[in-house]
Assembly symmetry: C2
């Protein structure tokens, strides 16, 4: 009835969340294998009343599975995943290693999941800040057309992994207790601070995170001409990325039509009644795995320009959930 499935990088923030989601969503698994680096070998992870023992990842001895869900670091993925790839396997990669490869589909299932039909090989899961934005952009683009996006992201530290999370908490405590500031993970302290720098910088002075948003959004929406102007900022929040977006649509619009368009999307929750303190909150994304959208309003000067503010759980829809949804879509299109 089910399939054999393996999780690579099973002990990281995203890997653990993937395993939790496979259980929560009752994904049809016969055998689940969990792999990680030698350091985590022997750890046990709960899955459906069983304890899965984490094995050291060795491509020569890896279990034969139909689907591999990988959240290994990019540099490791680059080497390991092609070794695992075979004609009858789907490998869903959460890293950035293959996202821009022409032959690799970059998937947000509700937008371009049809590309998975009869597909085998590596499938790329987009960057966390890209996913939640395209979830909102896609229906707007379909209905009103889309010309340009200006976005400032406010990204939580969990996007940098478990150690960054611990650093935020430790730095915060140190500051509260001793008034002392130290940089335990990033180049500068993150506790009670803001860092307008995510990932390394390109020669054009954009950060790699910003360039990912540009390239990946264009690829997912099949819009190489789309104008995107991103600024990515790290903020002292545990989970949940928020994004302040200004979009130039293809035509004039009524705000109510925008609201209805977004309310029709199952993965979106419109939280937009600021007069009653209702708007997307970063901390709400810990409990709600949809992309929260609010602060909808027209530009004060340009009739085709819309503002919105969205927030989503970067570990769930931004990573693990989207990966599991890709796996679900693979099964679904295979059955047809």
């Amino acid at each position: 009835m089910g399939i054999n499935l393996a999780v690579l990088g099973a002990t990281g923030l995203v890997g653990r969340e993937i395993i939790k989601l496979l259980e929560e969503r009752n994904f049809p698994v016969d055998n689940l294998s969990a792999y990680a680096s030698a350091r985590s070998q022997g750890e046990r992870i709960a899955f459906k009343n069983k304890q899965i023992t984490v094995e050291e990842l060795d491509t020569k001895r890896i279990a034969d599975c139909e689907i591999y869900l990988s959240s290994l670091p990019g540099s490791v993925s680059k080497v390991i995943l092609p070794e695992i790839a075979r004609e009858d396997r789907v490998i869903i990669d959460n890293s950035s290693a293959f996202r821009m490869d022409e032959d690799v589909p970059l998937i947000v299932p509700e937008i371009n999941g049809d590309l998975l039909e009869d597909y085998r090989g590596i499938v790329a899961n987009p960057n966390c800040s890209t996913i939640q934005m395209v979830v909102v952009l896609h229906p707007l683009s379909e209905k009103f057309g889309l010309k340009r996006v200006t976005v400032t992201t406010m990204q939580s530290v969990s996007g940098s992994g478990q150690r960054a999370l611990e650093a935020l908490l430790k730095e915060s405590r140190e500051f509260l207790d001793e008034g002392r500031r130290s940089a335990r993970h990033y180049a500068h302290p993150i506790a009670f601070n803001l860092l307008p720098a995510i990932d390394y910088f390109h020669d054009n002075n954009y950060s790699n995170e910003e360039m990912k948003m540009v390239r990946e959004t264009r690829k997912i929406l099949s819009r190489p001409d789309l104008e995107i102007n991103p600024t990515c900022v790290r903020v002292p929040v545990k989970f949940g990325h928020a994004e302040s977006c200004q979009v130039e649509l293809g035509r004039e619009f009524k705000l109510q039509a925008v609201r209805e368009t977004l309310e029709d999307i199952p993965g979106i929750a419109v939280l937009d009644d600021p007069h009653k303190d209702v708007y997307p909150l970063a901390i709400e994304t810990e409990k709600d795995e949809r992309t929260l959208v609010g602060r909808l309003r027209k530009d004060l000067d340009r009739s085709r320009v819309l503002n919105f503010y969205c927030a989503a759980n970067n570990i769930r829809k931004g990573a693990a959930l989207n990966a599991v949804q890709i796996a679900e879509k693979c099964l679904q299109v295979r059955k047809k």
Copy 2:
């Protein structure tokens, strides 16, 4: 040699900072009077090796001064300041009460300080998030022309006063110690969270903070036609507002020319070498009272569009420092 000067609202975050700055900058004061609400009456504030006793504010018994520096709440200012106003007095108001009055100059001294020549009466100090933005926009506008501004602010809690600061620290500690989240000052918790809502909301779904940025920027720059699209977000930072800005200039530009233009402004520090982890930091504004500017880069698609990111101390340049600089400018233009 000096003048008689009074500080109204002397025990608040901004009032205390004004008194500190008057001393630091050696402002020529003969007599300093300090006023606050009845609750703070009798408190003592250090000023130049003396202790000033805070008196209850009563317009009938207020000391006769040449300059009054007020950081009272807007609703109080509205009533009290016109009662104090006289032909020979300058009243510098930090609240929003009179900012949009046609007859009241709204001043950032290095931009439009010349309006203070021979002026007596109420002078308005702009909103904190407006000041640091116009400090950067003005030289760009002078050199390259300015058509449109899109800005997302990330504003520290000190902008909401002493109690908000205490709430952030208390909420943070509660969360670290007990994993508990409570909203001690805003409608929602601010610790480890983001609130895209500052001040009340207008019918057009913009917050009052956002509308302040639009109206005040247009007034200060004498540009009623300037397009401004702001989104204001409260972030869990103690001091320092940061702003992610995209500006459409009047003509094409070289990035180096932008950098040189900004480097020439005494109130600006260009911190722009992201490859070496150099960019504006919110926490740096506790030590540096200039407006920090960085992340300078051209739009990827439009040749007249520039991005920058700035940060400034909302209590200093965003409030107390600008107010004291207005007072200094008043003395300077009076001497001519």
